[in-house]
Symmetry: C2
Subunit: 218 residues, 2 copies
Amino acid sequence: MEIQVNEGILNLNERVALENKRLFGENGLFVINIMGSPGAGKTTVLEKTIDILVNSVRLAVIEGDIYTSKDARRIEKHGVPVKQINTGGACHLDAKMVSGALGEIDLRHVDLLIIENVGNLVCPVEFNLGEDIKIAVLSITEGDDKPLKYPLLFRESAAVILNKMDLIDFTDIDMDSLRSDIKKINPGVEIFEVSARTGKGLDEWARWLIKKVREKNG
Amino acid sequence: MEIQVNEGILNLNERVALENKRLFGENGLFVINIMGSPGAGKTTVLEKTIDILVNSVRLAVIEGDIYTSKDARRIEKHGVPVKQINTGGACHLDAKMVSGALGEIDLRHVDLLIIENVGNLVCPVEFNLGEDIKIAVLSITEGDDKPLKYPLLFRESAAVILNKMDLIDFTDIDMDSLRSDIKKINPGVEIFEVSARTGKGLDEWARWLIKKVREKNG
């Protein structure tokens, strides 16, 4: 019975996600849904990415969080419109929450909408928001076993950002095994090795992202 | 409707959790439920804790994971009985899964049962397993904002293990603010600063845990 109920919720979510997708298409928006563990560095990656992109792409951000608006306040300082969604306990964003937030963003003047999901490697992946692509952020301090333990996120993502590379010398991580596990799950995925703290590697990721935005909008 | 359904599932879980609790009591078991983000270092903390405790306490371990049995295989090498639960996609253990695993452990010869939950800061906290205490593992590389962003785990935990302290010099973390946020949420909580990698700080945590086990069993 639990499964039936969940399927019902997921089907409802898919319908609203399709509505969101239609709205994104009409307004020429490219939309990414960023996921990763708590503390993987999603918000820091986002802050640095915004600083690189802000002069070439019109940005807006939706911040998903359970209770606080800490992340939204961090993003705001970078001069882009940001809308906070508090899930009130839920471990993921869903399409309806995003749909509600869209009413408060002037979509006509945005090229790239970035949605930062709740920190969690499981639940957010199961809920489409209508986005064009999913992005996984994994910090190398989390260990090299994560892709096989949480395969769905890595299978569904168009790119994986391996963050905190500045700490590589202080971990026991096997980067070859990490990269090969990710490619085994998702052969076509792009992998970017970055340090959001030092900024290293983020230019390459930002160039890839701009290309994706331009491809959609011609 | 989603809320009603969730309440139904939670009530059912509470009933099974009470059954588990009764069984633990009858067999003189002290049970801890360890939670934290993916990559916080739960399994490594556990491995090192087992090595310290193995000569003074009779141990058994239940490993919760979504798909793999990687962690159970790691624990096995330390010479304690371990039972793997695969949740098959679910982001947390529930009392029924634990109840099923208990049938395969000889509870009469165990003093301390350690349950490692699925890596997740949200869902596992909402499902009692019948444990005596919850333990939170947070790695300092996750950032000092996590207690306020995921307060429920920190409110419900009897102890917080701050792991990866060997990396403290390479992070921007404010330890005073981290400790004070945790104490604000849960004034009575014990906080242990450890490095599971180097072993530093784990003796103190293990001593505290042994004391808890002895207190229950007289």
